[in-house]
Symmetry: C2
Subunit: 409 residues, 2 copies
C-alpha cells in the first residue's frame, strides 16, 4: 500500500497495433515508432470488443479516480513502467458570473507540473521507459517541456528541451530545476522542432515532439474519458479547447469514438471549438477557407504562449474533428483573452492561464454569434495553472508607523 500509494493496480491490457492516421497502414505495438512511413501520426488501437465484454462503466467508477483508472484504454502494459507523479482527475468548476450558469471549467492546472501536458508526457515517458529509451529531445512553448523534464528525471532518462527565447521565465526555470537540459532558441516552436528533428536523424535521441510518437495522444485522450464519466456518461453540448498542436482535441475525439464502441456513450458529440489567438490562427484560416491542411502562420505572436504554434502536424485531424462535430475554429484577440482572465479571477475566484482565458473569450464570442446557446452545457479547458504567467503589478503600500486610515483600506 504505502510506497506506491498513488499507483494503479495491475490490469490486463488490450493494445492490438499502431495505425497510420492518414493511410490506415498497421504497425506493430510494443516497438519504438515515430511517424508512419507516410510521415503522418500513428494512433494506438485496442481490442475494444473484448474490453466491452470484460469491463464495465461501474468497474471504472469504483476505482480510485486518477487517470490510471482507464488502464485498459491506455498503452502501458506493465504497472512498473508507469512513472507517476499523481495524475489526479481534474475538477469541473462552474464560473457562473464570468461565464454563465451552464459553463464549467475543467481545471487542468491541478495536474503534475501544473498543466495538461502531464497527461501526454506521463504516457509517452512511461512508454519510452518501457521500450528502453535513454535520451529524449523535444521542442516546447514551456509546459510540455516542464512535464517532460519531471517525468524523465524521475526515471533516469536524459532530456534536451528547446524553447523559443521568450518562453515564460517560470517554464524555463522549472524545466532546468527538474533536471532538463533546456536551451532558449531565437525562433518559434516549429523552428526548435527542426533542430530536434536534425538530432533525431543523427541518432542522438528519441523525438517526443507533438504527434511524432503515438503515446502523448493516448494520455491526452483521458481528458475526454474523464469528462464523460464526470458528467454521468453524457457529453456536454460544446467544448472550447485552446489549440496549438491540437493533441488534446484529437485525443478527446478518439476517446469519444472508443467510448461509443464500448457502448458506454451514444453517438451524440459535443460541438468542438478549436480556440486560437488572432496573432497565430492557422487552423482558423484553414477552417474558414475549407481546406484540409493549414499553411504555416508567419509572424506569430500572442500572450497565450502555449497556443503559439505556427504549423501543426495534426492539422488535418483537428480540422476533421471540428467539422464532423459541427463546431468551429475561432480566433480571439489578446485583449479579450486578458479581460476573460481578469473576469474569471475577480468574479469567480478562478485564476485561468492565458490559453484558458482565450477559451472563455471564444465562448463569449460564440454565444454572441449564435454558435452556441445560453442553455447549452459548455466545458472550457483551462490547460495550465495561471500562476506560471505574468500578472498585473500591485502598488498598494501601507506604513504601519503612521496612523492608519481605515476608511481607505
Amino acid at each position: 500500500m504505502r510506497s506506491d500509494a498513488n499507483l494503479t493496480a495491475e490490469r490486463p491490457t488490450y493494445v492490438t497495433n499502431l495505425e497510420c492516421s492518414a493511410t490506415g497502414e498497421h504497425y506493430p505495438a510494443d516497438t519504438l515508432q515515430q511517424l508512419s512511413q507516410a510521415g503522418k501520426p500513428l494512433l494506438v488501437r485496442y481490442d475494444l470488443a473484448r474490453i466491452g465484454r470484460e469491463l464495465s462503466r461501474d468497474a471504472i467508477e469504483s476505482r480510485p479516480s486518477d487517470m490510471w483508472r482507464w488502464r485498459e484504454l491506455l498503452p502501458v502494459r506493465r504497472k512498473e513502467d508507469i512513472v507517476s507523479l499523481g495524475e489526479i482527475e481534474t475538477p469541473l468548476i462552474p464560473i457562473p458570473r464570468s461565464g454563465g450558469a451552464n459553463v464549467l471549467v475543467k481545471d487542468e492546472g491541478r495536474l503534475p507540473t501544473g498543466s495538461f501536458k502531464a497527461r501526454g508526457l506521463v504516457m509517452a515517458v512511461s512508454m519510452a521507459k518501457a521500450l528502453g529509451v535513454k535520451r529524449i529531445a523535444m521542442p516546447t512553448n514551456g509546459n510540455a517541456g516542464a512535464a517532460l523534464a519531471a517525468y524523465a528525471s524521475r526515471c533516469g532518462i536524459e532530456t534536451v528541451i528547446l524553447c523559443p527565447e521568450d518562453t515564460p521565465e517560470a517554464n524555463v526555470r522549472e524545466i532546468a530545476l527538474q533536471g532538463g537540459r533546456v536551451w532558449r532558441v531565437n525562433g518559434l516552436i516549429d523552428e526548435c522542432g527542426a533542430i530536434v528533428a536534425e538530432g533525431t536523424r543523427q541518432g542522438r535521441w528519441f523525438d517526443l515532439s507533438t504527434l511524432k510518437e503515438p503515446y502523448r495522444i493516448e494520455g491526452k485522450k483521458t481528458m475526454g474519458l474523464e469528462l464523460a464519466l464526470q458528467l454521468g456518461w453524457k457529453l456536454p453540448d460544446a467544448i472550447f479547447y485552446p489549440t496549438g498542436g491540437g493533441t488534446g482535441l484529437i485525443g478527446m475525439w478518439k476517446a469519444f469514438d472508443e467510448l461509443e464502441a464500448l457502448g458506454w456513450i451514444g453517438s451524440e458529440r459535443p460541438k468542438m471549438f478549436a480556440v486560437q489567438a488572432a496573432g497565430c490562427a492557422p487552423i482558423v484560416k484553414a477552417f474558414d477557407e475549407g481546406t484540409d491542411h493549414a499553411e504555416r502562420w508567419e509572424n506569430a505572436h500572442t500572450v497565450a504562449a502555449g497556443i503559439r504554434v505556427p504549423k501543426a502536424l495534426g492539422d488535418f485531424l483537428i480540422l476533421k474533428a471540428v467539422r464532423e462535430s459541427g463546431g468551429a475554429a475561432l480566433a480571439v484577440e489578446d485583449e479579450a483573452t486578458l479581460q476573460a482572465v481578469a473576469d474569471a479571477a475577480g468574479q469567480d475566484g478562478l485564476l485561468l492561464c492565458p490559453e484558458g482565458g482565450a477559451t472563455l473569450a471564444a465562448y463569449r464570442e460564440a454565444l454572441a454569434d449564435g454558435l452556441v446557446g445560453v442553455d447549452d452545457e459548455v466545458v472550457l479547458f483551462n490547460c495550465a495553472t495561471g500562476l506560471k504567467y505574468p500578472m498585473p503589478p500591485v502598488e498598494n503600500d501601507l506604513d504601519r508607523h503612521q496612523p492608519i486610515d481605515f476608511d481607505a483600506l
Copy 2:
C-alpha cells in the same frame, strides 16, 4: 448533475457546540465567534457517538474523493453555503531518490489557489457566508490571502488583506487579480495582524486570522482525515509539517482523535515533527526549553516565507500535540531547504515549495539524528506549489542561425 458537478450531495450535520481550547467552556454553534473569552482558539465539537452509529468507513470511501466526502465531520450545515473551487483529495507521491523508499509527499499544491490554505479558507469563508458576513480582513504571508480572496470574491464577500512588504510577488498579484484589496505593510505577519485586530475592534470587518475563528482548523483537519483513508486507515509512523501558525498540525491532531472516537483508527499516532526555519523558530525554542508557550521570535528571516511566523496564537496546542506524539520541533537552515528543493525536483521530478523543502531537510536531519528510522513510513507535507516561488535563473542560449554543436546540447 451539471452545474454543481464538483459539489457534495446534501448530508446530515452533527455539530453540537464550540469549545474553548484552553478552558473547555462551551459556546453555541451557528453563531459568529472569534476567540473565546479567555482569548484562546475555539474548537468545533461534533456528536461523534451518533456519527459512529450512522456512518461507516465504507460509506466515506464510496463517495467522490474531494474534501466534501467528510461532510459529517465538517461544520457547514447547508450544501448551498459551500463556496467550492474543486477541493480535490491531494495525491501522495513517493520520492525514493531524494527522500527514501518509505517517504511520501502529500502534494497540497494541487488545491485551489495552489496551496493547503484553500482547505482552511473554503471552510471559513463558507461559514462566514452562512452566518451573514459581508467583509473580511486577514494578515497573510501570501498563500492564505490568495485563498481568501478567491473564495470570498466567488461569493461576493469583500476582503482586506495585509501582507509583509517582501511577500512573494506572485502571491500579492494573485490576491489582487482574484479581487482582494491587498496592502503591503512594512512589518511581519503579526504586525499586519495587529492592524487587522484594530479594525476588528472598530467593527469594520470579520477577522479571519489563523485560529481567531473556529473554522479554518476544521478545513485543515481534512489533511489528517485524507491521510488515514489514503493509507488504508492506518497512520504513518511520522509526519513532517511546515509550521508557522500551526493550524494544520493542530487540525490533524484533532482529526486523529475524532477518527479514533469513531472507531475508524486505533490509538496509535504518528510522531509529529513541527518544522521551522532556523531564522524563525519560536516553537523549536519553546520545545527545547520545555515551556508551554513560545516567546515572539525577533528579527525573523527565512526563504520559506510561509513559515515566517514570529508568534503563533496556537503555540500551546502545537507544543502539546508534538510532545504527546513523541515527535519534536526541528529548525532547518535555508541552505538545507534549498538543497532539498533542488534534489526533489532534479531527482524525483517533484517541485516543492521552500516550506515543503524544509520538511525534506528536516527529515534528513531527523534520520541522521536517529529521531526516525530508515524503515519508518514518513509523510512530508508540501504545502504549496513550488511555481509561486523564485527559481534559479537559466543561461542557455542557442542561435539557430549558426551551425548547431549537437555534442554540446
